[in-house]
Amino acid sequence: MAYLIHLLILFAIYGILGLSLNLVMGYTGLLSVTHGAFFGIGAYATAILMTHAGLNFFVALIVGLVLSGVVSFIIGAILSRLSGDYFVLGTVGLNYLIVTVLINWSDLTRGPLGIAGIHKPHFFGLSFSDTPAFLVLSLIFLALTFLVARFVVNSSFGRALKAIREDQKALQVFGYNIFSYKLAIFTISGALAAIAGALFASYITFINPASFDVMQSVFILAVVVLGGLGSLRGSLLGALLLVIIPELLRFVGFPSEIAAQTRQAIYGLLLVVLMLYRPQGLIGEYKL
């Protein structure tokens, strides 16, 4: 049972990440390999504020969310000037850069050692320190993220995002400032990813830079691509499958280091197979 709850919490965290990346990738058509970094900014902001400043989880989460929004705004301002291959490379490079910062800014982040001893959330005497309670909290955040994402994609703004994905050159002459749209969705998406980061930090109670590297971004990308680009339910499905599938390896009895690597090999293979045979993903509405 505890094991099942653990998997469901991971599902909630990756569901949030998948939903937020899908806004950028599936709806706006910007292939981004930098979501692991936004995830990390949320996690680090929460961890630092909770351990150093002794802030409450929820306060730390909100600060982390704003901070990640600001960082993604700046990153978005750089990336929105790029297109196609250059954009993709830019996202990979930025993720790499942010991990470099996390590793080397040791005064703040404790470098490669990471930050330990992060507390579980408390809220007016309500404690989420046991895992079932934490699961409920995670699912609430997942639901909130889903609602925000749905609100965004169903709005006029969301329709314009899809039009950017389809033909940004044409959309401009109908009066759209593409740059500000990309910037806005990047900011929203980065802020949402920070929620997942906060949950992750306080659930695992320990974070280090390696958790937020480019491979993490590839994993989040796999969640979105597997479930389907441009489908919010798809991202939930993708998160569920990608959290469960590798766990099957556990029953085969692989040693833990090899299991972790095998998991990566499986994501990789999955991406290749999807691109070859089903680039729109399982229930996607949009082909890259």
């Binding site: 703004f157 400032n177 082909k287």
Partner: protein
Amino acid sequence: MFSIQTKNLKKHFDGVYAVDDLSIKIETGQITSIIGPNGSGKTTLINTLSGLLEIDGGLVVIEESEKLSKITPHEIPSFGITRTFQNIHLFEQMTILDNILVVLTDRQVFRAIFETHQTFHLKIAEEVLTRVGLWEKRGQLAVNLSYGQRKLLEIARALAMDAKIYLLDEPFAGLFPEMVKIISGIIKELKQESKTVILIEHDMGLIRELSDYVFVLDSGKLLAEGKPSEVLAKREVIEAYLGE
């Protein structure tokens, strides 16, 4: 009254001038055709006027008041300009209705987030899609339409903009006669509504039928201008078309 004037307009690619020191004046409320052989700079002119290409020299004057040496594409609706594309640019993996609604709803980011389309948006969409006969198909994805229907959707999208100046880049190319009829009908209606239409076209019959005035371009330069019957009779125009 002139809706658009170009003054010594220049646009070059790697030093080759596609629009070369071009000065033309387009009368408001008329249908003006721009003709010329392939590569004469017609589409480059339209792309420059709609901000998709940077101006390399000279000016564009709109409504005799806005003097522009730099045009950003997203500004052009504020000058009352809209356009269609020769090589169709639709929002392919979106429904026909969404292709129209997207040019109707709020452009400002923050307002757009908190807005969904309203009944009056739908009403305009219904009106323009009915005009081109696509309202019944509104739920289909644009990518699944036939070539002719795609051309019609481009026209409908431009109509939805309710602009003052319509830049139509080869709207008839490759169409069956019945669709040509629908579009030429729409262009005539636009004139009745005192809109300005700038038309790039190759079919001499249609040019005679529709245009009030014709500019002939060759290698980015103005070769001739005047009423269609006069211009099309000129020897240099015929020569330019037949390639010496």
